[in-house]
Amino acid sequence: MDKVKYDKIRKKLKDTSIGIAGLGGLGSNAAVSLARAGIGRLVLVDFDKVEEKNLGRQYYFIEHIGRSKVDSLKEIIEKINPQVKLVIHNLKLEKGKMEKPFKDVNVVIEALDNAETKTIFIEEILTKLPKKPIIAASGVAGYGNSDRIKTKRLGNLFMCYDGQAKSSDDDVLMAPRVSIMANWEANLALEIILGEDK
């Protein structure tokens, strides 16, 4: 390993704050990856409780069923990397003030499930926090077709995107593809923070 590069990256990531909206398949997996990578601070937002059916793709354990996702994920991350500062918000993002918890983060990750909520959230971040990079994902449902996933950049909006995928209302959500997208988002966050890895 390149020790000089590693130390430089570690220092930079330690001073970085990332906000994640939604802690389902995308958000829980992205948060764990970023905690392992050594991000200094994570702002985690979700209003839901862990359900048994979530265990098929979300980073929770049987013992978390019935507990809030924010508390459960905090417990998990503290077991992986207790150095990460965690700010948790057990709340439903409300139209008109969705950007509020994310004002002081360096990068925002959209990890919501419903297409309409995703769109409203992205629009609010782009218009109210115009300098903030936001990473979003669209087209996580199904399995296979990894090669169809692309990064699309539109100014400060970075999309992890498969335009041919079906809506999760008409398809299945499976751990491998959801995890690819979640880690694609986390990987994009590192690239935005650290610059292109040349």
């Binding site: 499930d113 297409a115 769109t119 087209g139 498969d162 209302d169 959801v178």
Partner: protein
Amino acid sequence: MSIEVNGKKVEWVKNETVEKLLKRMKYTFPLVVVKINDKVVPRKDFSYVKIPDKSTVAVIHMISGG
């Protein structure tokens, strides 16, 4: 007299709104982020914001799942 929509060159239509352009392009997904020359157009403005000539329009579909 043309605009670019998602990388495709299409004819510019005078006084065409975002809503009408989406219809013309047959973008059936109701949920999209639209940018004209890199500026986001809020959805509530789709019915009256007009597409300027020579502009670059990006339309992103959002699909449920997460």
